[in-house]
Every structure is written in structure tokens, then in C-alpha cells.
Symmetry: C2
Subunit: 388 residues, 2 copies
């Protein structure tokens, strides 16, 4: 401004921004935008997926890419999970440092920096990785040998996703043979993940896609078995297909992540079957401008909620009948107001259901966990931004 202010204590050091919430705060007093977890719904989702896996005699290895939180991973393991999945090597560090003993990297990687991370992680945890190319196997074998560690390698097979993974028995055999020939590696089995199957809206569509994926995975298992190579682990599946994967007789392990939260995209799917999740993740936002008729502007935009799978929607009971989130700018959410008294909304706090939980959690430093209207826990999102 033209004429500088003269305010006291301009010399005093400025602290960091205040925390959005403290344990014991009322939920309506939490600073916005804030990522809220409804602990009752969260606990129910956590227990229901573990029960589904237990009933099916399948190991549950939840995917930490969805929540990126050590506190959540520890709760998953306390409930019976055998370990966790991470999608990136750097993402695994906070979990390994917190003592999570078994981590599967459900992804391929290439490059000296990645190999160094894998070797370092393998010194601290029971580490498995995915490969879909013999060149990845050779590089990992050499790095593991030089580092004096042994790493479990799973061959990824494509079962419908059309992304990573080999798509022929011959290519799978070459991978398994290369892994088996490397003393610093150990052949762990197969990863057979079909991401597209997770997000089909109708239950029967997901069932059919999951069964097709399981049939393809089974054929690969039999192919290796005929060559005397056993698959100790067949891992894959996700929140949308878990109930089918558990009854497939093929998968030994499932990797769901979003089941804890049920984001807006998954929430739009049918859940008539043996796993019925509840919405447990919300973004609280404050209406900070009502200057224009028919429009309310809230403080949650692109930097607080991911929109790749659709805009967030108002949570029921939060004005969803007469308020619609119609545009996400960087720091603003534009709400269409379908009732008369828009200006009365100024200062109102609203709960949004994020369209996609994984990239939304990646935008925040902390989960504000609520029960009975009060803040009960604060969980750091320690792996936020760890994408290497």
C-alpha cells in the first residue's frame, strides 16, 4: 500500500499459521478448509473390510496411497492387515520409519535414485516390488546384490487395466525365470490389479470384470505352476472388487484403499453386496462471500479438493437440496444458491464430499477426526507429496 502501517511488534518473529483444530474442539469451530474424518463411519468401514477378508480367507494389505497416514496404517494393522501397499518408494518411508514391517510397492520403477531407495527400504522392512520387464529385474538384482539385501519381486500381469503388467505367458515366464536366477531377488508371485473394474457403477458390472480378471490371473498361475514355479502371493483387487476377489479362489491378498473413506465417485456406485461402506471423509468449508444474488463463494477450491473425478457435492443435511457446488477455482468454490436468502449463508460452514479421496488427501497435512460433534484425534498425513 502507498503509506505503510505502523503496527506494534513488527520485529517479533512470526510463528507458523495456527493449527486448524485441537483435540476437544467442537467440529463447528474447526478452521476451514479442513479434511474431516467421521470416526464412527471410518471404524465401521475398517472393520467391515477386515471381516470380508477374514471370511474369505484372504490377506488384507490395504493401500496407503489412499490415506498417506501412519496413524491409519497402524489402525489397519491392529485390525488384522498383514502390512500395507505403497505406490511409490518415497511414499513408503514414513511408514517404514514408524515400524510398519511389511510393505509392498505395487508399482514398477526405473532409475538409480529409485533403486537406492528400494535397497535402503529393504534394510528396514520386508519389501516387495513389482516388475513387468526383465530390464527392471536386472537393475534391481544388481542393486540389491551390491547393497547386500534380498528383495521379493512380484511379476505384474495385465488383467484388464491395460496399463502396466505383461500380457502373455511367454513374457511372464521370462520375468519369473529372470527373478529366479537372481540370488538377491526372490520370486513372490503375481500382482493382478484391474483398476478399471473398481469404478464400474453397477455391482454386476464390477462382479463380471472382477471375475474376468481373476480368470486371467488364474491362467497365469497355472502357466507358472506347469513350469514348476509356485506363486505364493497373488495380490490385487481394490475397494470396488474386494468382495468378488475374496471369493475368487485366486487372490491370496487384496489391496483396497478407498474403502475407509468412500469418496463421491465410489459413493455413486451400487453397494448391494457383502461390503457396504459409508462416507467417512468430508471437507469442511466456510461461505466467505455472498455479494452476488444466487451465488455463494466458499473457501475450498482446487487446492483443497481434487476434481479429477468430479466436483465435490454438499453432504446431505448441509443444504444439498438448495445448494450446488458448480465450479472449483484455485482457492474458491462457487456455489449455486437455489433459495431466496443467499446472504444468510455468509459464515456458514458446510461439509463437502470430495469426488476422489486419494488426491484430495494428498493436498492436506492432517486429518481432523471427529466423533459426537467434537475433535477426537488429529492424524498427520505424513506421506503427503511423496510421489517419487
Amino acid at each position: 500500500m502507498s503509506e505503510p502501517m505502523r503496527n506494534p511488534a513488527q520485529d517479533r518473529a512470526l510463528p507458523r499459521p495456527p493449527a486448524p483444530a485441537s483435540i476437544g474442539d467442537r467440529v463447528e469451530d474447526v478452521g476451514t478448509p479442513a479434511l474431516l474424518v467421521d470416526l464412527d463411519a471410518f471404524d465401521q468401514n475398517l472393520a467391515r473390510m477386515q471381516a470380508l477378508a477374514d471370511t474369505g480367507g484372504v490377506a488384507l494389505r490395504p493401500h496407503a496411497k489412499a490415506h498417506k497416514s501412519v496413524a491409519i496404517a497402524q489402525r489397519q494393522i491392529a485390525a488384522g492387515a498383514v502390512g500395507i501397499c505403497c505406490q511409490k518408494l518415497s511414499e513408503a518411508y514414513p511408514f517404514a520409519a514408524a515400524g510398519i514391517a511389511s510393505i509392498h510397492i505395487s508399482n514398477e520403477f526405473v532409475g538409480a535414485d529409485k533403486l537406492a531407495m528400494a535397497v535402503e527400504l529393504a534394510r528396514h522392512v520386508d519389501l516387495s516390488i513389482c516388475v513387468d520387464d526383465v530390464r527392471q529385474v536386472a537393475a534391481m538384482a544388481a542393486a540389491a546384490a551390491a547393497g547386500g539385501v534380498r528383495i521379493t519381486a512380484l511379476a505384474e500381469v495385465d488383467v484388464g487395466q491395460g496399463r502396466c503388467g505383461v500380457d502373455s505367458p511367454q513374457a511372464l515366464s521370462r520375468l519369473a525365470d529372470a527373478i529366479g536366477a537372481a540370488p538377491s531377488l526372490r520370486f513372490g508371485g503375481l500382482q493382478a490389479y484391474h483398476g478399471g473394474a473398481q469404478h464400474l457403477p453397477h455391482w454386476t458390472q464390477r462382479r463380471d470384470a472382477a471375475r474376468h480378471a481373476a480368470d486371467l490371473a488364474h491362467a497365469y498361475v497355472r502357466h507358472l505352476d506347469a513350469r514348476g514355479i509356485a506363486c505364493a502371493v497373488v495380490t490385487g483387487g481394490g475397494s470396488g472388487s474386494a468382495e468378488f476377489d475374496c471369493e475368487s479362489g485366486v487372490y491370496t491378498e487384496i489391496q483396497p484403499g478407498s474403502y475407509l473413506f468412500l469418496d463421491g465417485h465410489y459413493g455413486a456406485s451400487e453397494w448391494p453386496g457383502r461390503f457396504q461402506p459409508r462416507h467417512a471423509l468430508f471437507l469442511s468449508t466456510t461461505v466467505m462471500s455472498t455479494a452476488r444474488a444466487g451465488v455463494a463463494v466458499c473457501d475450498a477450491g482446487l487446492k483443497s479438493v481434487a476434481v479429477d473425478s468430479g466436483l465435490p457435492r454438499l453432504w446431505s443435511g448441509q443444504g444439498s437440496e438448495w445448494l450446488r457446488y458448480v465450479a472449483a477455482n484455485d482457492e474458491h468454490g462457487v456455489l449455486q444458491v437455489l433459495q431466496e436468502d443467499g446472504p444468510a449463508l455468509l459464515g456458514n460452514k458446510l461439509w463437502l464430499v470430495p469426488g476422489h479421496c486419494d488426491p484430495t488427501a494428498n493436498l492436506h497435512a492432517q486429518y481432523v477426526c471427529c466423533r459426537d460433534g467434537y475433535v477426537a484425534e488429529l492424524w498427520d498425513i505424513a506421506a503427503r507429496g511423496l510421489s517419487r
Copy 2:
């Protein structure tokens, strides 16, 4: 996995993930995904916008929401900027703590936590804020009085964006009078920002929209002037309209942010005029899977690059003729390969031009700044995730 590994040093504490780069590294050795800044292009964009403002006799107050980096703000001020804009109060903290003396919050806010942040910031910096409702004025006036500080308030007027800001002379008068009546506030003038005008692809469209916005702002200035209220500051404008705002005779200050980087969305616009930016921000990524014919998968997805303004594209000379980024999954980028030898891509590092720089920078902890093929600087993104 079923049978745990026995690797050495499982007891040793695990460090954080290694840094993606060190000063002096070759660019091709930087761990991916990494946000790269081409310092030659960056320096040119920085100097050209400052020269544009200087020539127009207009103050440059760059928007820190685009970069969220103290190191960049300090370079902008060293080049002649009068201070910075932030979009959120929490976002301003790292800049205030680093000694940036003048910060304008180019946004409205409501709530006790926000008022407390504004009062704390005003104790350390020359702070201005925006209002578009007399209730915001009353709350800020009371908090500033209680905190013993004086804060500059700008009345936001809507000049075409249709988001925040009053849209009548009467409403503006009520705001200015309320600010003027509060001893703890000071009426600073107007914010007249038209975000929509920034992103019109054709230069003449941007010129016409910017002139229309300036005409509306001028009418509001004259309205207050007729009532004996002077607007010391008329702030607004952005990278797309800056050259027109500078010659408008209405704006005393411009707020561009993206001009430093020129993301893919802005890069698709015409720049025939007096400001011609260059692409300076890139996301380096590694091809980590080529198992399927016609497809290459890289390690940069939704958690490394924002897709709200379109998918990233391959930088020229990086295979843009025969490679196309066609899908962003959470941690994977799917590339369509339009040439024969896809498998040869495994391990290749590619530079992507992000579609939208602001939310992309918000996903990263650091800029890896390069010159002549080597890493010359590492700049923290200190305000990443500060969205309150």
C-alpha cells in the same frame, strides 16, 4: 509377504527419502517426478513483467499463490515489485516470516480463526485485505481494534468475474462508509479483478475484456470520488491482461502470478503484444513401464501434476511428435506411443508442460532450478498446502 526377509540393520532408524537433486547435479540425473524451473526463461519472464509495469507507471504486486515460494517472492521484490499478493491468510505466513514487508490478501474471509490470523499478520507486515460485505468489515474492525492493529481494507468490486465483489455503486458506498467509520481500519481503495479475462485465448478478446473491466472499475472510482472518497489503490489484473491494465489509466497496481512460468493453458493463448512470456516450468518424469505395445507409462500422475486445465503435454524436443500424454491416474501417466520402438523408452526422462501451474506447484515441496543443463538452485515451496 508370507516369509519375512532377514536383511541387515532392520533396527537402524530410517532417514527421510533422499533429496531429488543437489546443486551441481546434471538435470538428467534429477529424481522424478520433479518440478523443474528453467532459470533463463524464468529470469526473462520476471524482468519483462517488471519492465511492463515500470513503463506503464503501475506498481507490480505479483501473486504468490502461483509459486508459493519465498525465494521467488524475494526475487520479484529485488526486481522492483512493491510487495506480494496472497490468496489465503495462512499462505501469507512464510512470506511474512521471511521479511516480505507488504502483503495484500486478495480475497474475502469470514471466521474467528481467520480474523486472528489477520491481526497476527498485521503486527508484522503492512497488511491489506479485501471485503465485499459490511458484516466482514464489522468483524475485521472489531478484531483489529481488540488486537491493537490497523488494517487496510480494499472494497472488492465485480468487473466481470461474477464471483466475489459488490456489483452496485450503492453497495460500494456502504462498504467504503463502513470502512471509513472504523478507526481500526483504513480504506485503501478497490480490488477489481477479472479472472475470466486472463484466460481468453485471443489477444483481442483479452484486450476487450480487460478494457471493459477497467471501464467498470473507473466508474466505481468516479462514484466514490464524487462522494469525496479517494481510491489510493486500484489493484487487479493478471498475466493475461497485464499489458492492457498497465495502459488503462485506472489500475495503480497489477497482480500477475503465472507470468513467471507460462503453463500449458496460458501457453495456448496468443501473445503478440508487449508481454511475451516463455515456458519456464516443467515436470520431469521417467518412463517406468513399456510392457504393452503402443503404451508407455511414466511416473507422473494426478499427485504430481494438476489436470483441471487440461492434461500435461510433452515439451518440444522431448518426443512431442510421437508421444502423447493421454491419461493421468493417481501416480501413473499413460503415454500413447505413435512410433515403433516403444520399449526403447523404458527409463527415458521426459519433460512435461503442466496444464495449470498454481495447483501443480501446490503438489510439490521444492523447485529444482536449472541452467545450462545443471541444477543451479533449489527453492522450497514453503506455502504448499497452506489453504486456510
